[in-house]
Symmetry: C2
Subunit: 211 residues, 2 copies
């Protein structure tokens, strides 16, 4: 997470090592970014506010100033994930598109921490209220996926499609965990090309219309 080398324009609001001082919004973003990374990778309890502050290159006290508490910072991270997850992929209407969206979510695009976004939904603070947000988000997500796969609440024949969509979700989470957290080979080093085939088989088997 090196600094952007935007040295061309003087007086720009880029977070230059010298110019980023006294930039409250920039500081908030740096904290959010560092927190997402830590929370997603190591979990809530294993992450220290001092870790986050150090990663962000920011004083520890500012976490409490800008986010009230460690838990407040986590909720802010969660909010962003929930928001971005709500915007995205409302267009996926076929199983193939679902596979594409899933791969897109799970692929390493180092610029934004996309795969970490999802991983965050598996991390718990222990507070029931925050956990409920996670649960509802996952519920919504799986129901949208089920809908894209043909689910309609009235149709009894598609009754288990939500469950099946949640199995797809479970697969995605398992892959993310084994890759990012456990670093299991060869899964960890598998490219999206290598993953697309097997993952497509699994998702298709789970979501395609059956007799």
């Amino acid at each position: 997470m090196s600094d952007m080398d935007v040295t061309a324009v003087k007086g720009s609001d880029e977070p230059d090592a010298a110019a980023r001082h006294r930039d409250a919004d920039g500081t908030r973003q740096r904290l959010l970014q560092a927190a997402r990374q830590r929370f997603a990778m190591d979990g809530y309890a294993a992450t220290t506010v001092r870790d986050i502050a150090t990663d962000a290159g920011v004083n520890v006290a500012l976490i409490n100033r800008y986010f009230t508490s460690k838990e407040g910072l986590f909720e802010a991270c969660l909010d962003r994930t929930v928001k971005e997850l709500g915007d995205r992929d409302t267009d996926a209407s076929t199983v193939d598109q679902i596979v594409t969206v899933m791969l897109e979510q799970m692929l390493d695009t180092p610029a934004d921490g996309r795969p970490l976004q999802l991983l965050l939904l598996l991390r718990s603070t222990g507070e029931p209220e925050v956990d409920e947000i996670r649960r509802r988000t996952l519920r919504d997500f799986s129901e949208r996926m089920a809908t894209a796969a043909g689910w309609s609440p009235q149709d009894a024949r598609t009754g288990d499609l939500v469950l099946r969509a949640q199995l797809v979700l479970a697969t995605a989470f398992g892959i993310l965990l084994l890759r990012a957290s456990t670093a299991l080979e060869p899964l960890r080093s598998a490219t999206d090309t290598e993953l697309r085939g097997p993952l497509g088989d699994a998702v298709t088997a789970l979501l395609s219309a059956r007799s």
Copy 2:
């Protein structure tokens, strides 16, 4: 904290509230059982040695006496899981049998904490040495599964079967997490009967011989 909730501990001799005094081996077992439950459900960092001791109905200091440290206790839990995982399912040679074994591992058999056993392999202490044990165990497990599905290291056509087996593993872990830790409905309440169909479809699609 009443003593009622610790009587669920499986002991060779009955751990009666009166009779269990001065039973070193029984105390070790009570600690191991409580620790597995906590570590698997809440993770390593979120679990307190005092939590474990209270669950086990045992003095905190005995953790260090019998297992040296919190991490030593975790390793002892891990050893047991690795051992039981090594013994089991060396006989699964067809995809159907793999599904059966997976369901057996994931089903709630309250007596022993089978699903928690697997979940433990996702929990990290942060110590690289302990993590390596987890990694190797998962690697072995997935290679055994791939072998059962027809993998041979020489045959290039089965080259991605280990990766596919790890996707099966990922699915299992995801399901366990979403059920036990996140309590996502309807997945959490799904019976093994309801799970067998979808899970069978996914595993078959991942591991069956393809053209």
